[in-house]
């Protein structure tokens, strides 16, 4: 149907929708990198594309990128580690990002975060031992008028409360 199909985020978005990622493969990576190598300032677009494909930036991707872009491996590593978005290991099956910034704090975000930690059983910034759920902090989703807010596997949620949060966590197949 036109409504939902039209508005749903495009397939292969940078957010991990349901986390159906390919496993690391150097040849695929090389093709992805080569396709973007001539863009001005290509490194961030390349890293986004790799993370979209594999769910993280494999350590072995760094020398490949360095080689194709003709920069040092240290430069690539520096960029990969500078930005919060780039993961160094495959993500959990579900990623729940909780906004921890001021507008969400003013509407009870801290208590919600504590509730999420207690329910999931890990502190924010960590993943459950079975790789089921990651709790990640995010500093502002721009949903400050419907705070507190969260993003579950790329889906935005506003006016979050304990009941909504419990429903979301129950919905996740852990």
């Amino acid at each position: 149907m036109f409504v939902s199909a039209y508005w749903k985020r495009p397939a292969g978005s940078w957010e991990n929708a349901l986390n159906a990622y390919a496993s690391w493969d150097a040849e695929t990576a090389r093709t992805i990198i080569a396709a973007k190598q001539s863009m001005p300032g290509a490194l961030l677009p390349i890293l986004h594309a790799l993370q979209e494909e594999f769910g993280y930036i494999d350590h072995d991707a760094e020398p490949l990128i360095a080689d194709i872009l003709n920069i040092t491996r240290a430069e690539v590593h520096g960029v990969v580690t500078f930005y919060h978005d780039f993961r160094h290991a495959p993500p959990a099956r579900h990623v729940l990002k909780l906004c921890r910034a001021e507008a969400c704090q003013s509407t009870g975000g801290d208590a919600l975060a504590a509730h999420a930690e207690a329910t999931v059983g890990v502190a924010i910034g960590n993943t459950t031992a079975d790789g089921g759920v990651s709790l990640e902090p995010v500093y502002c989703l721009g949903l400050c008028a419907v705070a507190p807010s969260a993003m579950l596997d790329g889906r935005v949620i506003g006016r979050l409360d304990e009941n909504k949060l419990d429903a979301l966590l129950a919905e996740i197949d852990r």
Binding site: L44, H48, V79, A103, S106, G142, L143, C144, A145, A147
Partner: protein
């Protein structure tokens, strides 16, 4: 006739279930075999009413809200029957007081038009500014923007026309227009709204900037936290290319201008213009020392205009109606309108565009309706995580760059976050330092080390460990950060910290100020 339905695809509305409402309305229409056209608009910015559904017949356009998927069928039937008795019926949206009292120049079309349709944009007055700019000398375009008094809406408040003039006068084989859409400040969402609701106004503003300074390539650097905005922008840019608004001969002129969206990667500091440029170049988003100014040596070493989304989106109406039209709004050196964002614990959260000069108290109490929790307003933070916290005793402050600077604060990107009386201001001050430590790019010492030391000092104050001595130390540290940091991250973090300490001393173990007790 075909019934036209409008449901926001704005991320804030989606977060409240507008996708489900849209689907349910379609189902209701299919069931009653009524042909409809369903348009996913942006939001008009009345978030307590979202998800809003609007219905247009030949005669008028009316709104319902807040609508849930379960209400969709009854709303649809009511709309079909033209019945005004439905409990969610709101009447004409532009008659709602929150909208009626605004001066919408930048946001004139947001929430009304189909953000992916260039035809719709043109039908609602779009592209007139660009057409006029193309008939003028580039220097006259710059002059028009200078005359308008437009200042950088990202927070720094630097006159946009002066910036453009510098780039226009710098000779180079390639120049760039960079749009800073790395809206990372908590409490702000105006950039997101305009990109999701009326992206063509931004594209038009950037094209005008390109014509004015002689740049042929533009980049919009959008944060990765804004997937909906990125999707709409990319669609709009494609439509603009097809429609001749971008490309080799824009609007059938001899000027060339094209645009590309680049996605950030979760670094707050990339909202600072020089680290944004480094990030665009594929580097770590580390702040550059100035000079050289980006206007002289910016992206890839070329002269570059770096402007915020709201600055660029204000340009089309300035060119269409003239600099003096825009200049006639506002007060003092703050000219035109500011899209103010009411956020956090507030009864009527949303986007309120109005001329500069409105008071903080008017915004929070009269327009915002106080807190959502129903408790008294204790503090408001204006201008994002680097903005000051103000108590009620400062509610007389007019919204104006200079007035806020004089009160040791800033208007920043125009976000206001409201806190009720349960807030612990020592905790908020600590968070400001903690946030700076997390997001510091690491280039300069006051920010990189100072923020971590700041957290430690505030922790000592909180646990009553030599409170008096540590308050002096905190003040000293804040001074070092304010005057010694390379950019606004380290330089402005003292604003929330010191304002919390000054206006709410009782939260730091001191007797309350007399002013705060009024």
């Amino acid at each position: 006739m075909t019934l036209r339905l409008f449901v926001p695809g704005d991320a804030g509305a989606v977060a409240l279930g507008s996708d489900e409402v849209a689907s349910a309305l379609q189902v209701a229409a299919d069931r009653s075999k009524t042909p409809i056209e369903l348009v996913r608009t942006g939001s008009r910015g009345l978030y307590w009413l979202e998800p809003v559904a609007e219905v247009a017949t030949a005669a008028r356009r009316v709104a319902y809200g807040p609508v849930t998927a379960a209400d969709a069928e009854s709303v649809f039937d009511s709309a079909l029957a033209g019945d005004e008795k439905h409990p969610l019926y709101l009447g004409k949206p532009e008659e709602l007081p929150f909208l009626k009292n605004q001066t919408r120049l930048t946001f004139a079309r947001c929430g009304i038009v189909d953000p992916r349709s260039l035809d719709d944009y043109r039908a609602h007055g779009g592209c007139r500014g660009l057409r006029r700019a193309l008939q003028m000398q580039p220097a006259a375009v710059v002059e028009e923007v200078t005359q308008s008094g437009l200042r950088g809406r990202g927070g720094a408040g630097f006159p946009t026309g002066i910036k453009w003039k510098t780039v226009a006068q710098t000779a180079a084989d390639q120049k760039y227009i960079v749009c800073n859409a790395d809206e990372g400040d908590s409490g702000t969402f105006a950039d997101r709204m305009i990109m999701e609701g009326d992206p063509f106004v931004l594209i038009e503003g950037m094209a005008i900037a390109g014509v004015a300074v002689g740049a042929t390539q533009g980049y919009i650097y959008v944060r990765s936290e804004y997937p909906h905005a990125i999707a709409v922008l990319n669609d709009a840019i494609r439509a603009a290319r097809r429609g001749g608004m971008l490309g080799r001969n824009i609007a059938e002129s001899s000027f060339a201008f094209d645009l590309e969206v680049r996605v950030g990667a979760g670094a707050y500091v990339c909202g600072e213009e020089t680290s944004l440029l480094d990030s665009l170049e594929g580097k770590r988003g580390v702040v550059r020392a100035k000079p050289p100014l980006p206007a002289h040596r910016g992206l890839f070493g070329k002269p570059t205009v770096v402007n915020n989304v709201l600055s660029l989106a204000a340009v089309p109406i300035i060119l269409e109606k003239g600099g003096s039209f825009y200049r006639d709004f506002g007060m003092g050196k703050s000219r035109g309108t500011m899209p103010i964002q009411l956020a956090g614990n507030i009864k009527y959260p949303g986007l309120y565009e109005t001329a500069f000069g409105i008071t903080l108290g008017d915004l929070v109490d009269r327009i915002g309706g106080g807190t959502r929790s129903g408790r008294p307003v204790r503090a408001v933070q204006v201008g994002g995580p680097l903005g000051a916290y103000f108590p009620r005793s400062m509610f007389h402050l007019p919204f104006d760059y200079e007035a806020f600077a004089k009160a040791d604060g800033l208007i920043g990107h125009g976000g206001i976050v409201v806190f009720d009386d349960t807030v612990d201001m020592a905790k908020q001050a600590r968070f400001a330092m903690e946030f700076c430590a997390i997001e510091s790019c690491g280039k300069c010492t006051p920010c990189r080390i100072g923020s971590t030391r700041g957290v430690e000092v505030i922790d000592r104050i909180i646990r009553n460990d030599d409170r008096a001595g540590n308050k002096v130390l905190l003040e000293d540290l804040c001074n070092t950060m304010k005057f010694g940091s390379l950019c606004a991250l380290g330089g402005f973090t003292p604003y929330p910290v010191m304002s919390a300490l000054t206006h709410f001393p009782e939260d730091f173990g001191a007797p309350p100020r007399l002013a705060a007790a009024e």
